[in-house]
């Protein structure tokens, strides 16, 4: 039973975390909202003036916004599809009696620990380069023409790199969930002679549903903010081909010095992320009660 003394102490101990996180969230966010209502350009200091929702009007009607929104959705959707489906398949494989499973696991999980700038540059140069890249050589072995990845398929190239980084995360979580699958259920199904396909769809997939939801929600949070991979490979181009919302806001702020416009874009990004966040927080909350 918590005494009065413990309760007071608890509050004191909790306070620094709560206050700091509150400040970290509310001060910059409040400033972003305030800036988003101003005409404010860093190249033109001292001329700030209140313009109401004009920045939002500009940002939301800018063709660049629609391009960036489309790119963001395609990037997030494709990476999710690749990592979830790939992750399920690889997790199922890793759950098999593999000789040296520990080492295979280490190899599969490794890409997750590679910093984004390294994976982007290694893929772009060593693998995807149209002349000396390894993919071009492999295509040549099969008599196929080499693909100029970043010229002809820039967004797909980014998608592949990001998917490679997140595949281990999906695999690891799905494998963890898979390993909690009831051995007896497996045996019973085997004895009954349940075909592997229906066993998977009727028993395994429902068991994984929760883990899959978690993977989708958490990845989405991070994938909405993909930035470094774009910055070091394409710089958002060619044209706007690989500009996502995060990169668009960055470009508007630190390349065009348009504080007002970038802030409006930042708020739009926050709203998008929050839509996903609500679901994730609810899911985790349910888990806390359980």
């Amino acid at each position: 039973m918590a005494t009065q003394q413990t309760r007071t102490l608890g509050r004191v101990l909790l306070a620094p975390s709560v206050i700091l996180l509150f400040l970290w969230m509310i001060v910059p966010l409040g400033m972003t909202i305030w800036f988003s209502l101003l005409r404010y350009n860093l190249l033109d200091p001292g001329t700030e003036s209140f313009v109401g929702l004009l920045n939002y009007q500009y940002f939301l009607t800018d063709p660049a916004f629609f391009a960036a929104l489309a790119n963001t959705l395609i990037l997030v959707g494709s990476v999710l599809a690749i990592t979830v489906i790939g992750g399920i398949l690889i997790a199922l494989l890793m759950d098999q009696p593999i000789f040296g499973r520990g080492i295979v696991r280490l190899m599969v999980i490794a890409p997750f620990f590679v910093m984004p700038t390294v994976s982007a540059l290694v893929w772009k140069n060593l693998l995807m380069h149209p002349v000396s890249g390894l993919f071009a050589w492999v295509a040549g072995l099969f008599g196929l023409p080499a693909i100029d990845w970043f010229t002809n398929w820039p967004l797909l190239s980014i998608i592949l790199i990001v998917a490679w980084q997140w595949l281990p995360f999906a695999t690891l979580i799905l494998l963890t969930a898979l390993q909690s699958f009831d051995e007896e259920q497996k045996e019973a199904a085997e004895m009954d002679g349940t075909p592997a396909i229906s066993f998977f769809f009727l028993l395994v997939l429902p068991h994984l549903a929760r883990a899959i939801t978690v993977v989708i929600l958490i990845e989405t949070i991070f994938l909405l903010s993909v930035f470094a991979e774009i910055l070091v490979t394409t710089g958002g181009g060619p044209g706007l081909a690989t500009t996502n919302i995060a990169f668009l806001v960055y470009a508007q702020a630190l390349l065009q010095y348009d504080v007002g416009g970038a802030s409006a874009g930042g708020i739009v990004a926050v709203v998008l992320a929050n839509i996903v966040a609500i679901f994730l927080v609810r899911l985790v909350g349910k888990n806390l009660d359980a």
């Binding site: 102490l9 101990l13 190899m107 620990f113």
Partner: protein
């Protein structure tokens, strides 16, 4: 009862498993191999797999020309610095929520989680301006502050889930014996909490080491960690593949090894306890 597994099954699974593992790992392996080539061999077609002239000159050149150690040191300072600050702030909070929960504990935890959901780009402009005006751009202290705050929710959460597993009866027993809260913390709780704290440190160091949004936007030279340093190889004149590979290998090696030790904690930390 152990299930009977046929040899065919075992052989097929092993072959498929190793093939998939090899393919996923290959980009890293290829990068390491390339780092030991001459620039000429690195570009050659057909590619050289093993029978090239092995050299370590790239590693020497990377350090000599671009001061790799300076950036590695920055990575260490930022990753461990931000983790240390986060621990100091988070341990009391997690302790209090795990051992003296109130009606609001659940909401507090969820609210903390929700702050992690805020996309960094939403606060890029004000943080950048505050840093510029406060002279914090490209400084260790500024970056440690940002990284610490960005990861604080994860640190509190992880510690909370570990602390919750410490049996409460032990504390009650200690209290019966007349231990004060201070003694309880040091002699009873601390030894049991060490494994959880170690796991939290491991995961947080990995996350901070690889964080590339704030480091790319807020550092240039003085406080630039390895993420920013590697990004400098994206300029056309920096495209020397063997040197890029050597620098990259050095940048990821320590954290890859740490990461391999933290597989379980990773699942726990990044899913906020939703998958165990």
């Amino acid at each position: 009862m152990a299930r009977r597994i046929s040899t065919t099954h075992r052989v097929t699974a092993t072959a498929a498993g190793w093939l998939v593992g090899f393919l996923i790992f290959f980009p890293i392996l290829w990068m390491v191999l390339t780092s030991f080539k001459t620039e000429l061999d690195a570009f050659s077609t057909p590619p050289q797999f093993l029978f090239f002239h092995w050299t370590t000159e790239n590693y020497a050149i990377v350090q000599e020309r671009s001061n790799y150690l300076h950036h590695a040191m920055n990575s260490i300072i930022l990753a461990f610095g931000s983790t240390a600050v986060a621990l100091v702030i988070a341990i009391p909070a997690a302790w209090s929520m795990a051992f003296a929960p109130t009606k609001r504990t659940r909401d507090t935890l969820l609210w903390m989680l929700s702050t992690k959901m805020m996309p960094p780009v939403g606060v890029l402009v004000p943080i950048y301006l505050l840093f510029r005006d406060g002279g914090l751009l490209d400084t260790h202290i500024g970056l440690i502050m940002v990284e610490f705050l960005a990861n604080l929710p994860i640190v509190v959460w992880m510690l909370y889930t570990y602390f919750k597993e410490i049996p409460k009866d032990i504390l009650e027993a200690a209290r019966m014996d007349g231990a004060t809260i201070g003694k309880e913390l040091i002699f009873v709780l601390a030894p049991m909490a060490v494994p959880g704290i170690a796991s939290t440190v491991l995961l947080n160091v990995i996350l901070a080491w690889n964080e590339a949004f704030w480091t790319l936007n807020l550092t240039t030279v003085d406080a630039a960690p390895l993420t920013t340093f590697i990004a400098s190889y994206s300029s056309p004149e920096g495209l020397f593949w063997a040197k890029l590979s050597a620098a990259s290998t050095l940048a990821i090696a320590p954290i890859l090894v740490l990461g391999w030790f933290s597989q379980k904690q990773l699942v726990r930390g990044l899913t906020f306890g939703a998958v165990k």
